[in-house]
Subunit: 220 residues, 2 copies
Amino acid sequence: MENREYKKVIEYVKSEIAKGTLQLKNKLPTERVLAEELSMSRSSIREALRTMENMGMLESTQGSGNYLTGNLNKMFAESIGMMLLLKQVSYSEVNAVRRALETDAYVLAMGNITEEMEEKLKELYQGMENSEGDQKILKDKEFHYLIIRASGNKLIISIMEALEEIYEESVGHILKTSSKETKDQLMRCHKKMLECIIGKDEINGRRALDEHYGIIEGQC
Amino acid sequence: MENREYKKVIEYVKSEIAKGTLQLKNKLPTERVLAEELSMSRSSIREALRTMENMGMLESTQGSGNYLTGNLNKMFAESIGMMLLLKQVSYSEVNAVRRALETDAYVLAMGNITEEMEEKLKELYQGMENSEGDQKILKDKEFHYLIIRASGNKLIISIMEALEEIYEESVGHILKTSSKETKDQLMRCHKKMLECIIGKDEINGRRALDEHYGIIEGQC
DNA sequence: GAATATTTGTCCGTATGTATA
DNA sequence: CTATACATACGGACAAATATT
């Protein structure tokens, strides 16, 4: 069907946001009030509220009310996870998206990164070298995501954080099972990434990231 | 809340897909049967079905049933549209994601493109030169999306198609209101993109796309 | 084509758990 | 602690669209 009743509620919420009368963290009218105002049953209102909750638009708290939130990023993980489950896309294709976005983020980060961040990156890199197992994987992730966050592009950050959940087993597994040679290769990539972001060397930085993702791709 | 009843239904559907007992286009058990099997009320079942419908996982048809579909891409448009509405991300940031993904798609397309596609691209380019207004915008879009589809990466295609809806007014508007000089500049980019994809010249092809998006960005 | 059964769409009423004043 | 407001969940009823006989 196309003409769904519950879409009226979503349209209502959107218009209230557009008008400025509904803002983040604000409480929505109660279900009964919404039902009356929009001339719908509570059931239909609730179906709409559920979809919006699932989307990350709002959060419902029993006994209190429905509050506008803005956690839309979790939907990226849901959608792509479902696509993977239905085999509509492959892990390799998801990986290509990751590479494209992280490369872009890396270049953007080059222009934004502060000295504090550079120090933190060095710290994380050293941490990677001096640790093993889960600890190393954690430092690795922090290394990448510090750069991604430093890009300042909130959409890229959202998507990459969503994809992090999907990959945390898969890539983690790769890192655990790969040979020492592969691990050393990855460490050299990280070192180059670190050097190039400090030295603002975009070309070699891109190469390091490309090599990094090439190794990951090869282990899939 | 975290422990939502309706999530049981989503988990149920996911597990059926994983087991292979539920496939695309298949009909789900009726709402009443689901209610009985999962020991829930029909209302709760319906809330779950609605969220899944909204997600693009299934389609409900009155009098018939609920059928598993796989149109997850529409959720990308919804989520990003909502982020834009809430001003959590800017059009400029969305543009950066488009650039990153289209550039990746462009390079992938270089390796996949057939002679027929190249002919079609030439045709579209000529069509752009020889037309004006909405017709020109349409050819422009077709030109870009032929390349994107030629990339073969179904996730990139999904995301870009979702972003197309969001940008179709915004970019269309830019093309309508920009000066002749800007338009000529864009045409030169398209020409370079065409030449480089045929000549497998990745470096200059990337440059052409970068220039193209730089112009779009400048008009925002 | 018509009649009947099935299934989703919508609504209402009620009971319960939770948050808030 | 009490009372009120609110979301959560259930079950029943009827309408509307579809499928089946």
